[in-house]
């Protein structure tokens, strides 16, 4: 072996000094807070695990427990409907999944300094439903709280209200801060009922707050509820003073949130499956549009058509409008034109502009009636100044497009005229 080769062999032995991995710091179990007794007297149960302590509250409900208009047990027929449908839908839950309704209370809105002080879970068991609430004993006992949630161990489907963008990411933040000691958080399927609520009741509900939905749709009115934004202050007070009286009201608030999640799921499922009944034309139009966006075209068309026959003309503008797009897509030019025309008087001006554009396109490219196409383009163009645009550049672009269409149609029209001559 040559000298160089020997050296090269030895190079492996030399090695670069690798950075020494720091030893995992040992977990020091925190002391219990001074108010352990007081919190237990207020009605909380003390739980200890290898990471410290936390408090717990458990409530059981029978299947026929009524919360607002619905019994909790009605969840099962709802789940059955999805099972029978056997179609892909973001809302569908299969019988194999373990459903957990989930809601947290936090000390702020974002960042590493925002603590989760209450983890609320509601799930079905053999006798009924069980609510389990875990309360942060103090911030030093956070690992104990997270560990107790079993979310590192179980596989569940989390049903929440705005949990996808708030509660769950916040839980991930807390988990990361304790990653040195805790087993990793499992990623779980998320079903966010805020999302479905927005789809169902856009332009129907003025606010999408859960309490608003309860009142207007679920027949539940809260009495003696503390507003959610006070929750942080109440928790601070409980930690500082040791008095957990008011904190119990936050737990009740969280309990109601969770119960309403079940009935909201039931109610929403029914709406998606049932024929038109008590809700507004807007809601059913929203449902039709949602199915359309999910590429369930036939269901969408059926629902939208039902809306147009079931409600008064002034309320069905949007239904005709969306229906028109579906009809255009399947090549029903005449019906599409008819639907756009019917929609026009009952939709806002911004949508009108789009309807005129569609009409102009249909007449120009499908019907080849340039005179009609020209008329609709003219109307659309005249409508432009009435529409508030956020940016000057948007308006300029629109203006350019309409002008282009207008001059193109003028040429086609003239050509047609001379050809005829």
């Amino acid at each position: 072996m040559s000298y160089e080769n020997k050296l090269l062999q030895m190079k492996k032995l030399l090695g670069k000094k690798t950075e020494q991995k720091k030893e995992k710091p040992k977990f020091i179990k925190p002391e219990p807070p001074f108010y352990s007794e007081q919190w237990q007297q207020a009605g909380l149960e003390l739980v200890e695990n290898e990471f410290g302590m936390l408090f717990k509250r458990e409530v059981h409900y029978p299947f026929d427990y009524k919360h607002g208009d619905y019994k909790l047990g009605e969840l099962f027929p709802s789940l059955m409907r999805w099972e029978l449908l056997a179609e892909d839908h973001p809302f569908a839950i299969s019988g194999d999944e373990t459903i957990v309704f989930f809601d947290t209370e936090t000390t702020g809105l974002k960042g590493a300094g925002t603590h989760i002080f209450l983890l609320g879970f509601l799930e079905a068991d053999d006798e009924g439903f069980t609510l389990t609430q875990y309360v942060l004993a103090d911030p030093s006992n956070e690992a104990a709280l997270l560990f107790e949630s079993k979310l590192w161990q179980r596989n569940v489907t989390i049903v929440s209200y705005n949990g996808k963008s708030f509660d769950w990411p916040q839980l991930q933040v807390r988990w990361t801060l304790n990653q040195q000691f805790l087993p990793p958080l499992k990623s779980q399927r998320q079903i966010d009922l805020l999302h479905s609520t927005k789809r169902l009741w856009k332009d129907d509900l003025s606010r999408m707050k859960l309490t608003q939905v309860e009142q207007d749709k679920l027949g539940f009115n809260r009495i003696g509820d503390i507003p959610g934004h006070l929750a942080p202050i109440i928790y601070f007070d409980a930690v500082k003073s040791g008095n957990a009286e008011t904190l119990m009201k936050v737990l009740l608030h969280n309990e109601w949130d969770l119960l309403s999640l079940i009935t909201l799921y039931i109610h929403s499922t029914n709406l998606l499956f049932d024929d038109i009944s008590t809700e507004s034309a807007t809601t059913y139009t929203n449902i039709g549009k949602w199915f359309g966006d999910l590429k369930k075209r036939q269901t969408s068309t059926e629902i939208l058509q039902a809306v147009t026959t079931h409600f008064e003309a002034k309320d069905t503008g949007y239904a005709h409008y969306y229906l028109a797009y579906e009809l255009k897509r399947i090549g029903e030019t005449d019906l599409a034109i008819q639907s756009f025309q019917t929609a026009l008087p009952a939709i806002p001006v911004r949508k009108q502009l789009q309807a005129y554009e569609q009409l102009a396109m249909l007449y120009e490219h499908k019907v080849k009636d340039y005179e009609q196409a020209y008329i609709y383009t003219k109307i659309g163009n005249n409508l432009l100044p009435e529409i508030p645009f956020q940016k000057e550049s948007h308006l300029q672009n629109q203006r350019k497009n309409w002008q282009k269409r207008l001059s193109r149609l003028e040429i086609k029209r003239n050509k047609n005229f001379f050809d005829k001559k």
């Binding site: 720091k22 925190p30 002391e31 702020g108 300094g113 603590h115 030093s140 801060l177 202050i233 601070f236």
Partner: protein, 758 residues
Amino acid sequence: MLSKKRTISQLVDEWQYDEEMKQNIVAMHTIDEKQAQYADFPSNLHPSIIKALHGRGIEQLYIHQRQAFDYAQQQKHFTAITPTASGKSYCYHLPVLQQILEDRSSRAIYLFPTKALAQDQKSDLNELIELMDEDILSYTYDGDTAPGIRQKIRKAGHIVMTNPDMLHSGILPHHTKWVSLFENLKYIVIDELHTYKGVFGSHVAHVIRRLQRICEFYGSNPIFICTSATIKNPKELAESLTNSKHELIEQSGAPVGKKTFIFYNPPIVHPTFGVRRSAVLEVRDISKRLFEAGIQTIIFAKSRVRVEMLVTYLKSLTAKKIMDESIQGYRGGYLPSERREIEKGLRTGSIQMVVSTNALELGVDIGQLQACIMTGYPGNIASAWQQAGRAGRRQDEALIVYVAQSTALDQYVVQNPSYLLGSSPEEARINPENLLILMEHLKCAAFELPFSMEDTYGEYEVQELLAYLEEEGVLVRTSTKWHWMSDRFPAHEISLRSAAQENVVIIDISTPANTKVIGEMDTYSAMTLLHEEAIYLHQGTQFQVEKLDWEEKKAFVREVDVDYFTDANLAVELKVLSEDKSAPFKNSTVSYGDVSILAIPTIFKKIRFNTHDNIGSGPISIPPMEMHTNATWMSFELPNNWTEEQLTDALTGAAYAMGSFIPLFIHCDRSDVSVVPQVKAVHNEKPTLFIYDSYPGGIGLSERVYDVLLSLLERTAQHVENCPCQQGCPSCIGAQDSLGENKKQVMKVLNILINEMM
């Protein structure tokens, strides 16, 4: 027709025979070109990097670049002094890229003082990475970053380019989303180190301490690489900013092109009062010559108002051409999109002349400009060289014209060119100990990670401060730790850029259907620039402030066309709160401590363009602003045979002159430190000169004045004595209302004070 196009040397030759020009050219100085000093590539330099460098035609490194690479290899923090166009970015790109190529999990943060600089450097770096043909991801992360790619940057960006503000409020408080960055952070690059001075620098020092704390939590120990323009104390600044020991690289190996400096003093138009022609007008005329000669020029002016005035004047050169964009303004109040357009225009050459505040001093890449005009001394040597560096970046011949204003410092510089050309630059000071600043960041730090009972924060013992925060109700103490316990988001409560935390939004209501925000301004400046009836200039257009909603911090302006601008005054009241240091002399005392200042806007004046006549005035109705800060003050006995009125005038003159010279000693702007005389100070009823930091809590400037007060007085006296005026002028003791003895009186007072301290 004869072409008016000229080269720089032709132009300089012509000016020496031009009657109008030559009488005002006080001095001309040429700095010869300097040859490059090279070093070989390091033996372990990664082949891909070598490939990229070859791709750019680089066969050797400059010595400073090599030194930088070697220090980084030895895992030493270092700071490199890098003049403009010395290839400074290789000082950090090479070690960082080398590290990433050796270990793909490595990450780095590049910190630039502004968004614009980060974006600029990103295109440069990406070009280099492309030449390397390696899969290395670099991104800018700032307020403009699209939400869609933020996730990707957090998880996978090898090099994250950002600014201190974003780090402070967008990254550190959300560190759990950046786990892989913090776990693998190998380098933190701080570019333009010299900009981190004063209040801003003090804030950033804390942002970095918070960053270090988070790195420690995730088990990383990154190396700091800083680059800086020439200042007196780069090593000290870097060390106090990063709380780490630094090596210093002082010698640049980059070549320098020939530079011609012209020192230009406007002619005296009123010999008795020593009044010179306005520098702005002179700059206008010189700019016109450069514009006609076809030379791409940058004009620096010190204030936003000056920039707008010059743009207004200069745009008349192209008024006859339709849609001509070849002359542009550029300053802080413009919207980012406007600024990007201008930067592009400069690079492509469609803009021939740009008028800027110091916003363009920094390394924004605007390509090759041939000439630079400084309207007045920018306040410190480092800035002057940065501005001068804008001309002839790539070894070409460059022209720098310094046009003196009539202020004392400007006149001093024009009469002593060697000061600018030869002397050592000023110090940059930060004061992370400012308790107001420290407490704000301590809150942020506690928000980010809990403090244990043994923890320190940076170099500070903070247990007692944490106990105070517990009393304040934002922390809670458990058995082991201090935890944040508030629904507030502390990072949003601090702005790093100014001590005044709110900005006034400027809203154009000229077209009722189309009101729009055209800019913003800090509250302190707004007191004198956005009061009702003020003329506010934006891109050369005049606006009058119709209504100022001080509560809501909104100024409503309407476009006008008038032939004047406005100038406002502030009255100041001072109270001593505590005395930390004191030195007694025969009949006087010099002290340093905390003071309270009440600033009251009083009146504004309307001043006509061109002639600068005062054509009217009015009151300002804005509530006074109170501020606690640090001050150095000198109290003395009323000299025999002096009346209080005489002393008032003399002290006002002395204060004016002294204030001008403070930037000679400390790297700060003229407005960072104020000198205010009181004939009967509230705390001891004695004549007193106060020198205070213009920022709440102080930033260590006036404390430094405490040490150099005697030199300051001497330098001031020498300048006033040598000033050619008879009764005092704006270049020494300020314009005088009446013909009188005031200049002599000022000299007497200054000499009394000097004798006291000798």
